[in-house]
């Protein structure tokens, strides 16, 4: 076999592998649940995907199951019991769209659609959902997903990069930080985090000395960290998820770069920081300077009844293997139930309109975020500042930091 032909073949096979990987991972049956007597909810998740995506998908599905269980015990949505269908999309947009179309074409289209990320899934399914007038909630905000003029029946559950970074800028300002370096991944959401971080930190009057990216498959971030260090960064704002977070922390230590690190929610979604060696880095000098942004519901609070009900229900349905930062899908059931209570029906357009009103947002007994603050002009989750907390990593108990039993 000639070397030239091997090179060509490997390139071709490499390209084919990307396509095959994209096609892999579908198995669960789609389709809606019952008929008009039930409120059919479809949730897709990358349960068979690789890496941390699958673990997070499991938590996301567990949250949806818990939300459905609790709302059914409270009488359901608009007087109908919720029937939840879980579909494994393998983290692949093509599979997610195929499964959604199968459900629609079965003649029993879902009343509500929930995705479990990443944002590529949302971008793929949203046009189909819009075309078929299906109400939806999305956990991975991306460009336009919160824009009612583009997707009038979609609402983003996770606060977008702007909301997150507004919180981070506020925290940094309170700490008296300045000369901030930003390091983020080159994924779609990573780029959005980086841009938003720069904008919000600058808007808050602090100096951004540099902004660097890394490839999500990269094994070493020393060059990027050294660039930021050389630029005079005194604080690092970090978006990193999974193994890359470990590399960043290792490389910080290698450089002897001892500055405060503010982790985005992506950092708190990685279990590495919540486990002691040899499984993780908790308790080592690598995380001495690290605080991560989390939601109020990701931190244990014995007095928060709504959150504790969510956690107990989820734990009763299965093991919570990741942080509750991925438990967004618990809340849509309560938002829609409150909207249905107001409208007196489950028409998706009526529900979407009601979801932007103060009385519905006030009455929805959500737990993941205390209040979503959707408006007629923006379907982005825009929580108040107290929805965020900044915590040093601890061991996780049922997906929460700060539990004294940890």
């Amino acid at each position: 076999m000639k070397i030239g032909s091997i090179t060509k073949s490997v390139v071709l096979v490499g390209a084919a592998s990307v396509v095959l990987a994209g096609c892999a991972g579908s198995n669960d049956a789609g389709g809606g649940g019952g008929g008009d007597d039930t409120y059919d909810v479809m949730v897709t998740a990358g349960l068979s995907a690789q890496g941390v995506l699958a673990a997070n998908a499991q938590t996301s599905v567990l949250a949806a199951k818990a939300g459905a269980k609790v709302i059914n015990e409270q009488g359901g949505i608009g007087g109908k019991q919720v029937e939840l269908t879980v579909v494994d999309d393998g983290g692949d947009p093509t599979t997610a769209v195929t499964k959604l179309r199968e459900a629609i074409n079965s003649g029993d289209k879902p009343d509500l659609f929930l995705d479990s990320g990443p944002s590529t899934i949302a971008m793929a399914v949203l046009p189909v959902l819009k075309q078929n007038k299906i109400l939806s909630f999305n956990i991975s905000p991306a460009e336009g997903t919160d824009d009612p003029s583009k997707f009038p029946l979609n609402f983003d559950l996770a606060p977008g990069p702007d909301a997150n970074n507004k919180g981070i800028a506020q925290f940094a300002k309170q700490q008296g930080y300045n000369d901030i370096g930003i390091l983020h991944s080159n994924s779609g959401s990573g780029e959005a985090y980086g841009t938003a971080a720069k904008e919000q930190i600058t808007a808050a009057g602090m100096n951004v000395v540099g902004i660097e990216t890394f490839d999500t498959a990269s094994l070493d971030m020393t060059p990027q960290l050294l660039s930021l260090k050389n630029a005079g960064a005194k604080v690092l704002v970090l978006d990193a998820y999974g193994a890359p977070l470990g590399h960043v922390l290792d490389n910080m230590q290698r450089l002897g770069w001892d500055v405060p690190i503010i982790g985005e929610t992506t950092v708190s979604a990685t279990n590495l920081i919540a486990k002691t060696p040899p499984d993780g880095v908790l308790g080592t000098p690598k995380v001495d300077n690290l605080v991560t942004q989390v939601f109020q519901s990701t931190v244990y609070d014995p007095d928060n009844e709504a959150v504790n009900e969510m956690v107990e229900t989820m734990a009763g349905l299965g093991e919570i293997t990741t942080t509750l930062i991925l438990a967004d899908n618990y809340d849509p059931f309560f938002l829609v139930a409150a909207a249905a209570e107001k409208t007196g029906n489950t028409d998706p357009e009526d529900l979407a309109k009601a979801l932007t009103t103060d009385d519905v947002l006030d009455s929805a007994e959500t737990a993941f975020l205390p209040r979503y603050n959707f408006t007629e002009d923006s379907h982005a989750a825009n929580p108040d500042a107290d929805a965020f907390q900044y915590v040093a990593p601890t061991k996780l108990v049922n997906g929460q930091f700060g539990n004294p039993e940890a």
């Binding site: 070397i3 090179t7 490997v10 490499g14 690789q50 660097e212 050294l226 590399h247 002897g256 590495l272």
Partner: protein, 285 residues
């Protein structure tokens, strides 16, 4: 110097993958797409042996070598040998790579796992730069491995037989060399090597089910730069890729790293289509 050391360590990881590709290629002209995944399995076995079972390093090394050698042997028997066409073997070995990725995820889960390095891995000062002991060990292992394998291929009958097969399989068969047994042996050996190296690669990369994919392409680029069939080429190719990646990220930003790596590959292949150390085979037409 810190960046140079970090680039060399990264390059050493790519070189170790490329060496695995080369061992199989020399013996059977097969490109084993699953070689990086075999090394990934080695990192997971290392994690289980060192962390979960708390076994001595030497026992874990033997265990990792045995487990991955068996997997590589099964791969040869099921995905390579029955498939005579070399192009089709690329697809079947890719299938094995996908299976190994899925199996690792099922067995070891989705979160990155820390593989300890000899219970000590704090940064050290070296030649004016800062690095980790495991990174020095990776560089040393890659250099040593190339030196030993090159010596073996030139000075032993086994090595000569393998080179004979790579030059002309038919002639080697006529000289009494068991091509089939040697090809299987090379596959098993490359697997055993990948298993042992998992103990060194794991502390640098974490044991994670996406590792194989991350290493496969850069390992191939290292091989293509160095030249198919050349062990020193693997080493130089790996270091070129690692240094290009690190230095580009430092000076121009990480968004240009992969671009630079492939630019170097393209320029080099335009100048030397067989890679830095590859040889052009002449034939009568």
């Amino acid at each position: 110097m810190t960046i140079v050391l970090s680039g060399l360590a990264l390059g050493a990881v790519y070189a170790l993958v490329a060496i695995g590709y080369n061992i199989v290629f020399i013996s059977s002209s097969t490109f084993n797409f699953a070689q990086a995944q075999l090394m990934m399995v080695g990192t997971f076995v290392a994690y289980t042996g060192l962390v979960t079972w708390d076994l001595p390093v030497i026992v874990v090394a033997l265990l990792a070598a045995a487990v991955v050698a068996v997997i590589a042997g099964i791969e040869d028997l099921t995905a390579v040998w029955p498939v005579k066409d070399r192009h089709t073997q690329l697809v079947t070995t890719l299938g094995v790579a996908t299976l190994l990725g899925g199996a690792c995820q099922l067995i070891w889960g989705n979160q990155p796992l820390s593989v300890p390095f000899l219970s000590y891995n704090d940064p050290v000062d070296f030649l004016g730069g800062r690095t980790y002991p495991v990174e020095l060990a990776l560089i040393a292992a890659a250099v040593l491995l190339v030196a030993v394998l090159t010596w073996l291929s030139k000075r032993t009958m086994l090595g000569q037989a393998l080179i004979g097969i790579s030059e002309d399989t038919e002639a080697a068969t006529l000289r009494g060399i068991s091509v089939r047994k040697l090809a299987l042996g090379a596959f098993v050996f490359s697997g055993a090597l990948a298993g042992v190296l998992g103990l060194l690669v794991g502390p640098k990369t974490f044991a994670v089910a996406t590792l194989g994919t991350a290493l496969a392409i850069k390992g191939f680029v290292a091989l293509a730069i160095g030249g198919f069939g050349s062990l020193p080429g693997c080493l130089i190719g790996g270091f070129v890729v690692g240094l290009a990646e690190s230095l580009t990220a430092l000076h121009w930003g990480a968004q240009y790293s992969s671009l630079m790596v492939f630019a170097v590959l393209l320029v080099l292949l335009l100048a030397r289509p067989t890679g830095l150390f590859g040889r052009t085979a002449e034939r009568v037409v």
